[in-house]
Assembly symmetry: C2
Homo-oligomer: 368 residues x 2
């Protein structure tokens, strides 16, 4: 058996130059895609506009032969078909998903991975079945610690061949928020969002929402798989075990005003009164405050934030008035949630650029 | 009025280094997206997997207030609503669309623009109404030369502020192939594919298929707008007027076999018999031959190509057998159409990297 060596599957590394995106990063960027920020105008993001991050290939799963296995530290292992899912109690939520690597390409030095700027986000209405109902039917035994979710996507990453797997703790599942989705925005899941079944963990970064689910395994010990123990960690150096990436840090984004230049995406705005708008969200606690700066962070004023709706993990719209005067400027925005978490204005660097929520900057030319 | 100067909207330029993608290019790559090549398994590409290239912002058009104006060198200018479209004769086709800039990021020196590798393609079933029926109703006057299609998307590009506009000649329209689409794959157009109405010009590169149509204008002279006269041209230097980009050059793509590494996307395949497959298409003439090389172009053998279907401008599936032996290799594929056009193995460089159809290369590790 030929080893999958580091020429095929290299170790984690940092970019040599801030302004030189590598071909490896480009290969990821042409496959995966962000949400074009003008789509912040929509409450619910359609497929093709909602961000997508896929580690390996998108598996095209045949729902007619697909099964979900439930095994491990349970009383009664299960093998559920798509028809079996229809007999289970329903669950649904409108949820803002964000990639844990959002903002990575704006950090310095930049870790080599999917090079997101600000756009790895989207909000969808997910619906499906209750996770606790499935676990109750299988009968989780005393002493359960972690629950591992396995997807049908297979690949190699930093030399480790794997099916994509992530675990959640039994405590987290007992909060009763995580569920299994069979549909997105009222229609069956599209292939790139995990058809026929994905996990949804409201409030958590995207890596937790395992797509193309094939297996749920209850463990009586902590899971030490690659995506929990190595990949999605906040580390300061390669040997640092780090701390796990979990819930989404607060973030606000501006719907870029005016119109763009094709190449630089700089915005052109006519002078005069402008209504700025955007969305804000947090996986920790409700958004409490959104502040906007129209002078690149020198002064700030409060935006108006729409009241919280029925879905605590869906973004909320904000608006602010701006009297735009001719010249160049940079718009910025930052959110604060009820837990006291806020967005830093500068990067908080970590080795894999995870959960880096430093405030967006939108360069604008105001013309008189 | 403040000029939109070259710091906001720079002139066309070439990259300094082949291996250093700029931040401007990355901004485009995180918005626009290609088709993940494993989706070559599907005959019809769903939204979110079909490639998307949007020059400016995606306009969110309200179909309730939207109208299509038909004016210019006509007897009776029209203003059509969405309901009016329902009274017109229907048209539909399954069509492979490809961006004229596909392959750009594999050319050297690389023009700074959307940095596609091989993936700017997709095949959808488009349906809507006949274009000739609308033009007949308006009554095109004698002496008509070009027909201009205007979209709702507005921006600035190389210093030229514009609504996106492209013209087709009256001769091209008289072929009877171009039509106006209101739906994609059986459902209303998604926002990013031109809702509520787009032009479809089967066989042509994507720039011709104007999205978010608001106006059709008949001219008694040749159109000299930016996207026809400047942008989509095959030029050898910046001052060369060049020749227009029109129909799609033949291309075949391989569905990458095995599984990928996350970062390098190198494929890992187990030794033994492998069925390679993919798709091939041309906008000029039916595909006549697909050849595959499993030794980086040293030797070639013919693939089996599925018979032509009823849609002359939809891709066709091909398959080939490969006895994979352990080690590193590069797979390549090239298509030839009935007009005698074929894919070069090396780039045929031009100043904007348009219509560059040089053959794909898929690096593979075969393990024993």
């Amino acid at each position: 058996m030929t080893d999958i060596d580091s020429s095929v599957s290299p170790p984690a590394a940092l970019a040599e130059r801030d302004d030189a995106i590598t071909i490896d990063e480009l290969r990821l960027a042409t496959r995966n895609h962000g949400m074009p920020l003008e789509v912040l105008d929509l409450d619910v993001t359609p497929p093709g506009l909602h961000y997508v991050l896929v580690h390996y290939d998108i598996p095209l799963v045949d729902p007619a032969t697909w099964t979900l296995e439930v095994d491990g530290h349970v009383d009664t292992p299960l093998s559920l078909t798509a028809a079996d899912l229809d007999t289970l109690p329903a669950a649904s939520a409108r949820v803002t998903l964000e990639c844990a690597g959002n903002g990575r390409a704006r950090t310095s030095p930049r870790p080599l991975s999917q090079p997101w700027l600000d756009e790895a986000v989207g909000t969808a209405s997910w619906s499906g079945v209750r996770l606790d109902a499935i676990l109750e039917r299988a009968g989780v035994l005393p002493g359960a610690v972690d629950v591992v979710f396995t997807g049908a996507d297979h690949g190699v990453e930093r030399g480790v061949e794997q099916d994509y797997q992530r675990a959640l703790s039994v405590e987290e599942i007992d909060r009763g928020e995580a569920f299994l989705a069979t549909s997105m925005n009222g229609v069956p899941l599209p292939p790139q969002h995990g058809a026929p079944l994905r996990l949804v963990v409201p409030g958590w970064y995207g890596m937790a929402h395992v797509k193309w689910l094939t297996r749920i395994t209850v463990l009586d010990h902590a899971f030490d798989g690659f995506q929990n123990a190595t990949a999605y960690r906040i580390k300061t150096d390669p040997d640092d075990p780090g701390v796990p990436v979990t819930r989404i840090e607060p973030r606000a984004l501006i719907r870029p005003p005016g119109f763009p230049d094709f190449q630089t995406r700089t915005r052109v705005v006519d002078a005069g009164p402008v209504t700025l708008s955007g969305r804000a969200w947090s996986g920790h606690a409700p958004i409490e405050r959104v502040e906007v700066s129209t002078d690149d962070g020198t002064t700030w004023s409060d935006a108006e934030v729409e009241p919280a709706g029925t879905d605590p993990y869906a973004w909320r719209r904000w608006t602010a008035r701006w009297d735009a005067e001719p010249g160049r400027t940079v718009l910025r925005v930052r959110a604060t949630d009820a837990s006291g978490r806020s967005q830093p204005l500068e990067q908080q660097w970590n080795r894999q650029a995870m959960a880096n929520s430093h405030a967006q900057a939108v360069p604008v030319l105001v013309r008189g």
